[in-house]
């Protein structure tokens, strides 16, 4: 039975044989669950999880059993107390009041509407809403799309726009190299600008934001979230008239599985995110350490390279970073590390004595990952051409944990399913052997492997899978795991999944796999294979290395992946288009519950932003690499593009430069000529001095679901203008507004000025960020658009909200923890009273969870007559940071007349140098920067510092 991949244009619930549910014949209530019966024997279930959340579940088969829960995404459905009041229960309608909303369920025919008070918030289309095709498995739901509503979230989606209004999208995990390799409808333009591309990570979750509702929805601003928990290939058409008229409505649907969705009402987006991330996992109370704070080094800078194929190259990169004084924490080693592509192994030829190597890198401050794919090679040869046992594969084989080549509708097959993965090709730069592969007549060796796949929906298989990390983690000391090819990505064999579209590069969709409950075709649970993979890895790492925070960086995911892993957005290319989508893609992932995400800085593959090879051939990937003496010549990411990308990445949660060293000569910033290293170093260094801010924002996510990198409306929802500035400016945390340059300027054939507009949200004043290099300028009133802001190649426009509190580190470190002590330098910007939560722990162990060994401090400042008062109050006090003191930096002040800590006066030591050596509380006034800098010894659980400026 062939099951096809279906493009967005061929999933057509607005056309053809689809039928709505129609009339409901009876309603049965059991507790907070309402079961609605249809005339044909089908039922639909509506259950309430809290006052602001309900769930709708419909399976188009008669007698569906809703007591069986198959979701791998959901960890708890206890979202809050539920006290329902039945307002009406008649044959015409069921109206339920939760206290926060009224859910109107029309029964003749079926339709759901949600009201907040008397205001309509969400409505199914009147009659044609929940639809299906009798006798098939397809399901969909149409809802009204009010004028002015914005739609965001959707997980990992291409496109340069944050709001995905009028686009049609599919959720299907796919190895989409350069976003140009997944099936598309005829005539579609492939590439990063097209949101219809199937990508690596699927989170079928949307947020509707309506800032000024009108018509039937008139009333105050609202938002809601809708999580369509279905791991089959699913679809969201947000008003695209691609095959039918979709004016004023949207739909979501899937090819298989239940129409199973959760509705979350919120006044603000963060209310919705809080509910969604509670449902799918967040914070230290989530099971199995999931939601734990990541290691602090995760927020440092990282470098990866496909083509760091031996120890000399890797150690050369490490040394070069230290010599160039560009801070770096992470080094990521691709499948080059393995013994002839045996997953979980290392190559003793290429990386001899890896424990010694890892110890050496650790001594330099580096932490390393290596690539683990779900493929377990069937190639009998190791790198020596010998045939020693592949113990890790054998362990899973012998417990019957590999996937059999059993297809839906067919009988048993004792053979294992064999797939293949492509690792591109070696153009002659890598001198090592990969038996039995040999170069072709041009000296090019196609790289890859065939093999088996673990059936990870089975808990027992996941457990054995997790054990296989022992060599890497315990013997070698590998710090992180890079989980790749997660879709899973297949290069063969040829599975003609669809006569029209040909092979689809993942499991055959009729391949029977375990979904955690039973065996189903992959098509039914395709998107959750990666979730099982990540869970197996996560549990394995935590078993093998308890007490240390483990970390997975994954290329792919499904809803709930945030419990186990961070995400990078797949194989990007070196192009300005990819740079332009990086920001909305990461922001939308944050709006989909995944806090740590980022793009491969500079682009993984070659694209239009690469310079030609040295032989003059285009370096954009359209020509074979030019190789001289075993080294690629050219094909690198253009210097301006790399610089701008390094700048943007500095402000996004996951900051990794990563590239294909088999097609590009280099991409490390230190390999470029000046001024690239200088410009890049500036923003990497800023990242390290801001690291505490990212760490605090991560902690906030664990408490609330609020993303680290935020679309403007998350912080300033009341300002209607922010909704017009969502694609190219954003916040880090609450108060740092970043407006990067995302377009080509000086390297154009006819250069242009790098100038842009910047909108500053209303309700606050704003200061241009000076990074303690100059006194603050006068504040700028919010609610206006700055025109013609120039940002040379060494600049990123940054604005700080008046009143902000920014805890920076005093000194640049080359890696997290390089300095035994690096005091905080807490900047207090002039402005309205404000507060800030500082989170501190040891950054690497699990003691913050197992022993509550952390400290949270509320920093608040308020105006007092003739001055400013700052309070630091420890809210949870079970960790002592190594620094005995910190600095408070009151910006834009006159020279203080007095400074007191508690009631004790503090002496003015007169200079920065004297302050640095002061052994007790002290301050000085920096005349140059017009700032009062106070050194406070961190001895009191609750301390108030007051500076007065009167005469």
């Amino acid at each position: 039975m062939s099951i096809p991949f279906v493009t967005v244009r061929n999933f057509t619930p607005n056309y053809g044989d689809w039928t709505p549910l129609g009339a409901i014949t009876s309603v049965n209530q059991t507790g907070n669950v309402f079961t609605l019966a249809l005339a044909g024997g089908c039922t639909l279930q509506i259950s309430f999880l809290s006052a602001s959340c309900f769930r709708v579940r419909f399976n188009p088969t008669s007698g569906a059993d809703y007591s069986v829960e198959t979701s791998s995404a959901v960890v708890t459905r206890a979202l809050g107390s539920v006290n329902l009041t039945i307002i009406q229960n008649t044959p015409q309608a069921l109206i339920i009041d939760t206290g926060a909303m009224q859910v109107h369920i029309d029964l003749q025919p079926y339709r759901i509407r949600v009201f907040r008070g008397s205001q309509l918030i969400s409505a199914d289309e009147p009659t044609y809403n929940l639809v299906y095709i009798p006798g098939q498995r397809v399901i969909a739901n149409f809802k009204t799309r009010p004028d002015g509503a914005l739609y965001c979230g959707f997980g990992e989606k291409a496109g340069a726009q944050l709001a995905k209004n009028l686009f049609t999208m599919t959720q299907f995990n796919y190895d989409n190299f350069l976003y140009t390799n997944a099936p598309l409808p005829p005539g579609n333009q492939a590439g990063p600008l097209n949101p219809s591309e199937a990508l690596y990570c699927s989170v079928p979750f949307l947020i509707e934001i309506n800032r000024s509702p009108g018509g039937d929805f008139a009333g105050p601003a609202y938002c809601y979230g809708l999580f369509f928990d279905n791991p089959a290939q699913s679809y969201f058409n947000m008003g695209s008239n691609d095959y039918s008229i979709m004016d004023g409505k949207y739909y979501f649907g899937a090819l298989f599985g239940d129409l199973d969705y959760y509705f979350f009402l919120g006044d603000q987006v963060v209310d919705v995110l809080g509910q969604y991330t509670t449902l799918t996992g967040r914070g230290p109370n989530a099971p199995d350490y999931s939601g734990l704070m990541p290691p602090k080094y995760v927020f440092g800078y990282h470098q990866g390279g496909y083509g760091y194929y031996d120890r000399n190259i890797l150690e050369g990169v490490a040394n070069a970073y230290r010599n160039s004084q560009i801070p770096c924490d992470g080094l990521h080693i691709d499948v080059d590390f393995q013994d002839n592509y045996r997953t979980f192994t290392h190559s003793e030829i290429k990386f001899p004595n890896p424990k010694d190597m890892m110890d050496s890198l650790h001594a330099q401050g580096f932490k390393c990952s290596t690539n683990i794919t779900p493929l377990l090679t069937s190639n009998v040869f190791d790198e020596n051409g010998q045939q020693p046992p592949y113990t890790q594969m054998q362990a899973i084989l012998q417990m019957g944990g590999l996937i059999y080549d059993t297809r839906a509708g067919q009988g048993p097959n004792p053979n294992l399913f064999v797939g293949a993965v492509s690792y591109g090709s070696n153009p002659g730069t890598n001198p090592y052997h990969y038996p039995p592969l040999v170069p072709n007549q041009y000296g090019v060796t196609p790289l890859g492997a065939s093999g088996y796949y673990p059936d990870l929906g089975r808990a027992a298989v996941r457990a054995v899978w997790g054990q296989q990390y022992a060599h890497l983690v315990n013997d070698i000391g590998m710090d992180m795991i890079w989980q790749d090819m997660t879709c899973p990505a297949l290069a063969g064999p040829p599975e003609v999944a669809d006569p029209q579209w040909g092979p689809v590069k993942t499991f055959p969709l009729d391949l029977m796999v375990d979904n955690g409950v039973t065996y189903v075709p992959d098509a039914v649970c395709h998107n959750e294979y990666v979730l099982f993979l990540l869970r197996g890895t996560w549990d394995g790492l935590n078993t093998l290395r308890p007490g240390v925070r483990n970390f997975i960086i994954a290329r792919g995911g499904y809803a709930g992946m945030q419990r186990y892993a961070a995400l990078w957005t797949g194989d990007s290319g070196s192009s300005w288009d990819f740079l332009s989508i990086n920001l909305p893609e990461v922001l939308n992932l944050g709006l989909s519950g995944v806090p740590i995400t980022g793009c491969d800085i500079g682009g993984f593959g070659n694209d239009s932003g690469c310079v030609p090879y040295a032989n003059g051939a285009p370096g954009d990937g359209g020509s074979p690499p030019y190789v001289v003496n075993g080294e690629i010549q050219g094909g690198v990411c253009d210097y301006e593009l790399l610089t701008r990308w390094m700048q943007l990445g500095s402000f996004l949660p996951w900051y990794r430069n990563h590239y294909n060293g088999y097609t590009k000569q280099f991409q490390e910033p230190y390999r470029y000529g000046e001024p690239v290293p200088t410009h890049c170093r500036k923003y990497v260094e800023l990242r390290y001095r801001m690291l505490q801010i990212y760490y605090d924002a991560m902690y906030e996510w664990t408490q609330t679901g609020m993303p680290i990198a935020r679309a403007l409306f998350l912080n300033d929802p009341a300002d209607p203008q922010v909704y017009n500035h969502l694609n190219d400016q954003f916040f880090v945390g609450k108060d740092i507004l970043v407006a990067p340059i995302l377009f080509q300027a000086e390297s154009l054939p006819n250069p242009i000025q790098p100038v842009r507009t910047i909108y500053l949200p209303a309700g606050s004043n704003w200061y241009a960020f000076k990074d303690n290099q100059a006194p603050l300028d006068s504040p700028i009133t919010g609610g206006q658009t700055l025109q013609g802001v120039f940002a040379g190649l060494d600049e990123v426009p940054i604005y700080i909200r008046a009143g902000a509190i920014l805890p920076m580190r005093s000194m640049v470190e080359q890696y997290v923890g390089q300095l035994a002590r690096n005091p905080l330098d807490i900047a207090i910007y002039p402005g309205p009273d404000d507060d800030y939560t500082l989170y501190q722990d040891d950054g690497i162990t699990t003691q913050a969870v197992t022993q509550n060994a952390y400290r949270t401090t509320r920093i608040s400042h308020r105006a007092v007559p003739d001055g400013t008062s700052v309070q630091l109050q420890r809210l949870h006090n079970a960790y002592t940071p190594p620094e005995p003191f910190y600095y408070l930096r009151l910006l834009a002040t006159a020279q203080p007349s007095t400074v007191t800590i508690g009631s004790a006066p503090v002496s003015n030591v007169g200079s920065a140098a004297a302050l640095a050596t002061a052994t007790s509380d002290a301050y000085f006034w920096d005349n140059t920067l017009q700032a009062t800098v106070i050194k406070v010894f961190d001895t009191a659980a609750d301390v108030t510092i007051t500076a007065l400026f009167g005469s």
Binding site: A190, L397, P414, Y452, V496
Partner: protein, 265 residues
């Protein structure tokens, strides 16, 4: 008998940008074949070609035997229009495709491509006018055995191959390398008919005693000739190995898997 790596899988032929033609799956009559084609093979280098642009079609032409009728299709992009297609000599990335049904009476698959350049000149990709010719190796050839026999008294081993082949096959040779020993290079030797036949009545061919390093593992492919035309069988690009590795012994699949598969309608 050595089972083929992708026995029973649909056939796929990839025409790569570095002018290789890679066959995987079961290419045989009465089955479909998908052609995957990298346009770099045929588009003039100075032409500004937009990948997937239906206004600039590349045509795949096929015949199912010399002198038989020709059929053709426009190659299409399943992955949309791409401004900067990826160069990937392995053919895993940006390719155009077409699918043909091979008739039951097909004798071979003959393929060539044409493209009308913007200059007005017609370009062909046809193996220098000979066209690309593919035999139906799944039907024509079965590798029955391949061994490396070692005598501890000598520093060398002997490589042997036995093949069953259709009677229309006129000649067979084996091309082989030694795994893990790039200094050995590649060699090619003919097989000879033994006069014996297998259960299906096919002739048995063999070659034995080919000198290889002691206890070497040999990687090989088969060439065979019909009507003077040479065809290749490289086991879908995996090549055959001698001695054969120990087969992977998986436990039997659980009964519930078979039940679930059968129940799926």
């Amino acid at each position: 008998m050595i089972e083929r790596t992708h026995a029973g899988k649909p056939a796929l032929i990839t025409f790569t940008s570095d002018f290789h033609e890679l066959v995987i799956g079961d290419l045989r009559p009465d089955n479909p074949v998908t052609l995957r084609y990298d346009p770099k093979r045929i588009i003039p280098q100075d032409e500004n070609y937009l990948f997937g642009d239906s206004k600039r079609p590349i045509i795949a032409h096929v015949q199912f035997g010399k002198g038989k009728p020709e059929s053709s299709q426009v190659l299409i992009s399943q992955i949309g229009i791409i401004e900067n297609p990826v160069n990937d000599p392995t053919g895993h990335r940006s390719v155009l495709t077409a699918r043909f049904d091979i008739p039951a009476d097909a004798e071979e698959l003959i393929v060539w491509f044409s493209y009308l350049a913007q200059s007005g000149e017609m370009h062909y990709d046809s193996d220098e006018g000979a066209n690309f010719r593919f035999g139906f190796a799944s039907d024509d050839i079965t590798v029955l055995d391949a061994t490396v026999v070692s005598d501890p008294q000598t520093p060398y081993s002997g490589f042997a191959v036995t093949v069953a082949a259709n009677d229309k096959i006129e000649a067979i040779s084996v091309r082989y390398r030694v795994v893990g020993d790039p200094t050995f290079g590649k060699n090619e030797k003919p097989l000879q008919k033994t006069g014996q036949h297998d259960d299906e009545g096919r002739s048995i061919w063999e070659v034995a005693g080919l000198t290889v390093p002691y206890r070497a593992t040999v990687r090989f492919k088969i060439y065979y000739w019909i009507g003077g035309q040479r065809y290749k069988d490289d086991d879908s690009g995996h090549y055959y190995l001698a001695p054969q590795p120990e087969p992977v012994k998986a436990p039997p699949p659980p009964p519930e898997l078979a039940r679930a598969a059968k129940a799926w309608k």
